[in-house]
């Protein structure tokens, strides 16, 4: 069987349709290019009633929303998870990295938390403060114009706070806090923990006539059929299709490698069509990889040939290295004052209405990098799991736990919405020894060699997690709550395994020195000038922020540079 060559030739091939691929596609289509978007999963439009889960009740499913197949619950809009059938990955030396993949148009943007935080001036230059990791070759002022443009194009609510490292943007007005968030604020502020309105990419006010206003159903994780939240499909790919360029979608198409010619130029990609299981070659003048940090590293490493014996763009040997995820650990609490609540519609937006940005100075602490705190709770829609251990909280009231009979009905009602949770999400230090590489022993069902991971947390992260838990307990005490479960007091201090926060970045980091980095500051491979990377691979450090807004700002910046290079015929 030979590789089938597609007749269509493209200016640009974009691999992946998530935040980075979507933004590249939008900007390049606005500039009039002919683009192929190659996506490993199926077509997906949040508006399609066949696949829509938004506004479904638990009783409309025989499993009532249980997460037996989709790991975050069956109404979560991600076709994927930590494990994909037929697409394994492995680990080295007993270390662990959890790799979340979503195979669908728009990728993980269909279900993400919409938390959209700019990196601040300090985040780009962390090494200047603590000597760890590496500085970015760019600073906040380089990215600021693009953050501004992303705010206006995509829409984000928030409040102007004037905080140095939490730069303000062009915000829509934020929604008022829910009751449990007010409790959190009360407790946090007593400990000097800053609390401000959340910053989420959800439309509390119109930004154009194409997308509707938020209707406050709290279900952004199901992907909004009104396009009131940000998903790459609804906000970038579909508008790109209606823009100046030509955008062809190749879905269910799994890219194996980037092809190159003898002049060291990329010529396109080879992909496997999942429907007929045949290999296809797609030709393009430029390849933009945005398959997600680890998938892009995998494609580069699998693109090795005699000219690129270590894989494409890997003369530094750093492809796959400096992989890092946000740190994360959580704690719940029961608030007796919130028992027997009056019921009202408290769905709100799909996520938190308040949060705490990092508020301390690491120079005065025993760990180098900060974290932010997310808060959850409220009168949420019941789902599989609601009513489990219906009166376990009786333990804290000196009452009997267990039993049967109609008193259980009262227990469920009494405790509903009286539990609050806090999640610390922090910056880890990027380490060369945390990496993914090709596992020569294993291929996936498409015959493509898979990744294996080597990742360990260090004391930097463990001490940070310990601080998170100390802070949680203090805040819980301050608002009159009772901490649930035991406080982790040793080992990893409750740190979730790397990968669990799904903020993996850094596998193709940017820099000025080709020996110490994979791409330049415009996310162009040092080694091959017509290959760009616009997922989170080029991140030098993660910051204590969620990566999506920065992925999009940088993808836009990279695309502007690419357009300029094409116009000047430098590529």
């Amino acid at each position: 069987m030979q590789i089938i060559e597609q007749q269509e030739k493209y200016d640009i091939i974009v691999v992946g349709s998530g935040a980075g691929g979507g933004m590249s596609t939008k900007i390049l289509s606005d500039a009039g290019y002919k683009i192929a978007v190659v996506e490993a999963g199926p077509f997906f439009d949040p508006k399609d009633p066949v696949t829509q889960t938004q506004w479904k009740w638990p009783w409309q499913s025989p499993r009532r929303g249980a997460g037996t197949h989709r790991v975050f619950g069956e109404y979560d809009m991600a076709y994927g998870g930590w494990e994909l059938e037929g697409e394994p990955y492995n680990h080295i030396n007993g270390t662990k990295f959890s790799w979340y993949r979503s195979r669908m148009l728009g990728g993980r943007t269909n279900h993400w938390g919409r938390i959209s935080l700019r990196f601040g001036p300090r985040d780009f230059k962390a090494k200047d403060r603590d000597g760890l990791g590496e500085n970015w070759p760019i600073g906040y002022q380089d990215v600021k114009p693009y953050y501004d443009k992303v705010d206006k194009l995509v829409g984000i609510f928030g409040s102007k706070e004037g905080l140095e490292n939490e730069p303000d943007g062009f915000f829509l007005p934020p929604p008022k806090p829910r009751l449990h968030e007010l409790y959190y604020k009360r407790g946090a502020e007593k400990s000097g923990v800053k609390v401000i309105p959340a910053r989420l990419s959800i439309l509390t006010k119109r930004i154009n006539n194409e997308r509707a206003l938020c209707v406050y159903c709290g279900q952004c994780y199901r992907s909004c059929n009104l396009y009131a939240d940000f998903s790459s499909g609804s906000c970038l790919i579909f508008p790109a299709q209606n823009s100046k360029g030509q955008v062809d979608l190749y879905v269910n198409s799994m890219v194996r490698e980037v092809t190159t010619d003898k002049n060291n130029k990329a010529t396109g990609v080879v992909y496997i069509n999942k429907e007929d299981r045949k290999e296809y070659a797609l030709k393009g003048k430029v390849v933009v990889l945005a398959a997600s940090a680890c998938s892009t590293a995998r494609i580069l490493l699998n693109s090795k040939n005699p000219n690129h014996p270590n894989g494409l763009g890997n003369s530094s040997g750093l492809v796959g290295h400096y992989l890092h995820d946000s740190t994360g650990t959580d704690r719940g609490a029961f608030i007796p004052d919130m028992m027997n609540r009056k019921f009202y519609n408290e769905d709100g937006v799909g996520g938190l209405h308040l949060y705490s940005p990092w508020w301390l100075d690491n120079n005065k602490l025993d760990f180098p990098r900060g974290y932010h705190i997310e808060v959850w709770g409220g009168l949420r829609m019941p789902v599989y799991g609601t009513g489990f251990n219906p009166n376990s909280l009786n333990e804290h009231l000196g009452l009997k736990v267990g039993g049967y009979g109609n008193s259980l009905r009262e227990d469920v009602k009494r405790f509903y919405g009286s539990v609050i949770g806090m999640s610390g999400r922090g910056e880890s230090v990027a380490m060369k020894d945390n990496y993914c590489e090709i596992d020569p022993t294993t291929v996936d069902e498409f015959g493509i060699p898979v990744l294996r991971f080597h990742y360990k947390w260090s004391d930097y992260e463990r001490k940070q997690a310990k601080h998170m838990h100390d802070t949680f307990e203090e805040i819980i005490h301050n608002f009159g709550g009772i901490p649930l479960g035991d406080k982790p007091s040793s080992g990893d201090f409750g740190l979730l395994p790397p990968g669990a926060i799904i903020h993996e970045v850094g596998t193709t980091r940017m820099g000025d020195d080709p020996k110490e980095s994979v791409t330049n500051q415009y996310q162009q491979l040092h080694d091959v000038d017509n290959v760009f990377i616009t997922d989170a691979g080029p991140f030098v450090s993660q910051a204590d922020k969620n990566p999506t807004w920065t992925i999009m700002a940088l993808a836009w910046r990279s695309s502007d540079y690419l357009i300029e290079q094409l116009k000047n015929q430098n590529i």
Partner: protein, 231 residues
């Protein structure tokens, strides 16, 4: 667009296929169509195929389903708000046993344990024991020992059954109504009601002007150069 259409016809195609298969098997096509269409919950073709397979299979025997129903009614006795049957709790437990296989041995073994206990102590099955006898039995297994490191099997079994019954009830239409949850519909959030705020000692006064104003939300946002909203 083409692809979307083809996905849609694929979904319809696989549904139609299952209906056809089933109707050949038991000749009751109308009932089956109803069974398949009562669940519309955004499955991919593959997920739908999987679920249809489970819906076609029967794990528990009729006698076991009767026992589950009886137990469920002891856990949440029927009242004017709703019943176990209205909440389709036995069907839900039947489905979960197939969907999550680790439940199977605990549930099936637990039902046997109950019969075994009743046979030994009361000389008859659980179903045929008197309600006093049933309660006497449940009183021994319905209260976990919070200080113990591990629970006896029958306590674990009853906890699982209680969890499935209570969650099955409160995720049903009658259960959600009884609970009083009033969301899952388009609306406008404008904060916690005033009486609730007051009861808990909160107010939005410190935040004046910071929050979204539903009255001008439909107006397209414009900002000055400093990022201040001016529309």
């Amino acid at each position: 667009m083409d692809r979307r259409e083809s996905i849609r016809s694929l979904v319809l195609g696989s549904l139609a296929g299952s209906i056809l298969l089933e109707s050949c098997a038991n000749g009751d096509s109308e009932k089956l169509t109803e069974k398949l269409w009562q669940y519309q919950y955004g499955r991919t073709p593959k997920e739908l195929e999987f679920d249809n397979e489970l819906l076609k299979q029967q794990y528990f025997e009729e006698s076991e389903i009767n026992m589950i129903t009886m137990l469920a009614e002891l856990i949440l006795p029927p009242n004017e708000k709703g019943t176990i049957q209205q909440a389709k709790v036995p069907e839900f437990i039947e489905f979960m046993a197939k969907d999550y296989e680790p439940f199977q041995i605990t549930l099936r073994g637990g039902l046997m344990w109950l019969n075994n206990y009743c046979n030994r102590n009361y000389g008859t099955s659980f179903v045929n024991s008197s309600s006093d006898q049933q309660r006497q039995l449940l009183d021994q297994i319905a209260y976990p020992d919070l200080d113990a490191e591990e629970q006896r099997f029958e306590v674990e079994f009853f906890s699982l059954m209680r969890n499935l019954v209570v969650t099955g009830y409160f995720t049903s239409e009658v259960g959600i109504k009884e609970l009083g949850y009033v969301g899952n519909k388009p609306n406008v959030w404008n904060g916690v009601p005033q009486d609730v705020l007051e009861k808990h000692g909160f107010s939005y006064d410190d935040w004046e002007g910071k929050f979204h104003d539903p009255t001008n939300a439909s107006q397209i946002a414009k900002w000055d150069d400093e990022g201040n909203l001016i529309s």
